[in-house]
Amino acid sequence: MIVPIKRLTLIGRKADENALLGALQAIAAVQIIPVEEGRESALLPQWESRVQRLQSAQHTLKKYAEKQGLGPKPEMSATALAEALPASLELCARVEELERSIAGLRTEADKRRALIAQLRPWEDLTADMAQIRHTRSVRYITGFLPAEQVDLLAGLEAVVEVYGGGRERAVLIACLESKQEEVLSLVKRLNLREYAFPGLCGTPAANIRALEEEVADLEARAEALHAELASLGKERPALCFGQDAALIERDLEAGKGQTGATEATFILEGWAREDQRDEIEAALNAVTDIYYLDFSEPAEDETPPTVLRNKPLVAPYEAVTNLYSLPAYGAVDATPLFMPFYFIFFGMMLTDTGYGILLAVGAALFLKYMKPRGMMAGLAGVLMQGGISTIFMGLLFGSFFGVTWPEIFRGLPFENTFPLIDSSTEPLAMLAVCAGLGIVHMFFAVLIATYRCIKAGDWWGAIIDNFCWILIISGVILLGAPMLGFPAVLATIGKWMAILAALAVFLFAGRSKKNIAGRLLSGGGKLYDIASWLGDVLSYARIFALGLSTGVIGLVLNILCWDMLFTAFKGNMVMTVIGFIITAVLSVGIHLFMMAISTLGCFVHTARLQYVEFFGKFYESGGRPFRPLRYATRHSQVAGK
């Protein structure tokens, strides 16, 4: 069902604002309706950056931290989280500092490496670089020249020295001051790339050695800091909890920004679940008694968020509803209505008792040990129930890990009882069962639509647009009754039922049209819906097809593994044992894989039958989810104060 929502107005003193909103956040009870002119909070950007910093710090440490084992998120109390914040901010600062220092050291080392690379060609130059500078009459030109051009320097009126190897050679040219222009223009034509020595003393070789030592030193320091960073890896959980605490504070601050305020008070408007009314009052009273609280009905033009609440057995199926879309507020929550059909259809599609047992046990273990929440919990619950359904449906229509029931029950008195219908030998009977279930499913949807119309006072809509279709379809089915040995009078009744109902649809479906021709045309068009009914019924054949495919694939696997592979091994004792092990491992693996694929297929095809064939007849979607101010933590689950 859809939980009634009230509009909540809370007015309190600004001094109590943090505490009151914090109390509401703790019970996740109120979705704040932002006021048009929100308050600018100076703190919010800071709080936001705190979250980001902690996020990136914990992300940095992720590769040094111990691998998290499978398991639920750790439970923390709200106060423990809040207390973890200052320490984790310090830790975060330390991590950032380490990262910065390491990056700084690496940059320095890189600069030196670049310098070494530049000096490397000059390594054989035995002169002090600082000494190579212009004198009164001598000019020096230094640079790099493509190797193939070096020979062309021979004719130069200057002293030329060439160093290094490779594609570019380092050249040092000394010439008279008066010849400088001439020499320079000539070597430029030879593509000389001029290079000025960095302001270093000593020979290039000595400088390279010194620089290499510096690089080694810088690297060593960076490595030491890196080791410290790695040793902080084990502290990562603290950072994660800090991030959660920062998230909580940020959300609270953002929530405050969405409330209105006067000089001394704040005004919060929001949506709250009616069933949490007492809880809200108790939470506020625990803080202070100086506040004003009012619950009122939503106004006509407002759409409150939709919250679903169902009994524990049905609640997991809310995940299926959510996958489609939440119902509009004030419409029907279809979850409890489709749940029995989902249960049955899923089992009939998977239809292998062995898979059913595995699925039910697997999902139950997942729920027990992983303690998932939200969507995952719902899906696991649906699969667990689906597994249980499969156990029974497998007995009625299927097999056990691909082995047929007569083989399993051989020699027992009920040897040939199961499966009740064997879809591979009686496909038409199985198809009929599926179509029959489909018709029940769709009639139920039409009845819901009829009921909704009657409740809204729309009797025409109830009878013409909805109930008449039940008469038409059942009339058509009754026409076939004599073929199955029922009295012929049923066919006559069915015939007239269908004709009269169709006539009613023809005459009245276009009742909103004034023009008589348009009205009949629209009625006739409506009758064409019979085609879509036919298509919808056929759509349920997928139950048969998927059930069949699970069963036959299981059978094929067993034949391939046990009849072919294992037989090939049979010979002496040793080979038989080896063959048995290989075949067993292989067949378990493939069965698990096929089970996973089949389960996925069954889940989505069952969902589709609800979404298209069932929801299509009455469902009003478009509800907005309820997003209360809450502890939206990422790494822990908040439990207790």
């Binding site: 996958l323 496909p427 694939i553 694929i597």
Partner: protein, 164 residues
Amino acid sequence: MALYESLGLNGQLLAAAGAVFAAMWAGIGSAIGVGHAGEAGAAVIAENPDHFGSVLVLQLLPGTQGIYGLLIGFVIASKAGLLGAGGPELSVAQGIQFFLSALPIAFGGWYSAIVQGRTAATGIAMVGKRPEEAGKAIIFAVMVETYAVLALLFSFLMVNGVQV
């Protein structure tokens, strides 16, 4: 009849062609579809590895056609006695029946797997942007699968109807 014989065609051969068609075409389609979806998946995972679960589900969806094809191929092979020695003697007419019954899943499976792969790839891109809507992306892909299921169903009914 003389024409068939001059071509060397007999019932077994035609049935074998049907079994091969079913497994082959549906398998090719699934390979293309899964591959296409996988490429899209890798792009999304590169940005956000957390979505691996829903992306994998979407990638797997076009894979079922190959399984359906294998299934029909196997049913034909076993019914026509192609898996071992000593099967029934098949007439050419029966062989043609087997062959025709393989066609729905061969071609329905082949093409639906390819377009389902495309739908899944787009769905995967959607998961990259709005991970909370993964369910809807899956439903879109499953809408395509319907026709593969119907093809499987009809192929099966046809194979089942062949009197051996």
